[in-house]
Amino acid sequence: MKRPALLGRADLALILLALGAAAVWLLWPRADACTAVVEQDGVELARVDLSSLAEEEVLNLGGPYRVRLRAGPGFIEFLSSDCPDQVCVRTGRLTRAGETAVCLPARISVRLEGGAGGGTDAVTG
């Protein structure tokens, strides 16, 4: 095949566009976390109101990977999991609405929702 160039105008545009979109997406102002939603296979396992927690608590989710979560005032994190990749644990603390952590082998996800009690951010369906 004919050898492509290394860097053309289209490449530069693509790179800047992708970086710009990611930056806007990540830096978009978001509320502090209020509620953590824990789901497995898309089914809600638990819902923790982080703003009402006075001290840290550990949630044992069990399962083949013995997943444990730690929730505290304003944060939640995967404390431990026996899964091989440890992606969930390395994700660290979630503190802002919209942040998520996932343990793919255990199919458990944690996501933070903000604005508890207030209006809705979006309505679908």
């Binding site: 492509p4 160039a5 790179i15 990540l26 898309g42 390395r90 994700t91």
Partner: protein
């Protein structure tokens, strides 16, 4: 661009070359697995250097062999890292291969090596994200901006590496 413009490319030769690209892909993934995880990368992100083998195959050999390579890569991931890794590797590999094939059609080549690498990485990430959402629920989509952010440098790296290996691969493919 496929072997049509390469009269000396017989079926056996093509099979051998395809096998060699497969070996290159597996060697690159093994090499990447042996490196310590980079702290700068978000959890779960990998460089995806082995993409360059499927990228090259999509341009030089056509869609079929390139998809076979993606399948071989996924089987390797499945054997070494389990079923979830197989599904993640296959979804990402198939989508990025498809993207490469579209972008490397003979007459319409919008991108150079860096753009190709970035497109491949972003397509790979998008495919994996779909699998993650399917396996773990919509919350997994929260990784999307991180994957977008880190797909760019890792795609640039893959593109640079492909640029460096390109003359070698072309020589191997077309040598009489």
């Amino acid at each position: 661009m496929p072997l049509r413009d390469n009269p000396q490319g017989g079926a056996a030769r093509r099979a051998a070359f395809c096998g060699m690209l497969g070996a290159l892909a597996l060697a690159l993934s093994a090499l990447e697995g042996a490196l310590p995880p980079l702290p700068a990368l978000p959890p779960g992100a990998k460089l995806g250097l082995s993409n360059l083998a499927t990228m090259y195959a999509a341009g030089a050999l056509g869609l079929g062999p390139a998809l076979l390579l993606a399948l071989a890569k996924a089987l390797f991931a499945g054997m070494t890292r389990g079923a979830v890794a197989f599904a993640m590797s296959l979804s990402g590999g198939a989508l990025s291969t498809l993207a490469m094939w579209i972008l490397l059609r003979p007459r319409r080549r919008p991108f150079g090596f860096l753009g190709l690498g970035v497109c491949g990485a972003l397509a790979h990430n998008a495919g994996q994200l779909c699998t993650a959402v399917f396996l773990a629920g919509p919350a997994a989509a929260g990784y999307a901006p991180w994957l977008l952010l880190f797909g760019v440098p890792s795609g640039i790296l893959t593109g640079l590496l492909l640029r460096a290996l390109y003359p070698l691969l072309e020589k191997l493919r077309t040598r009489p």
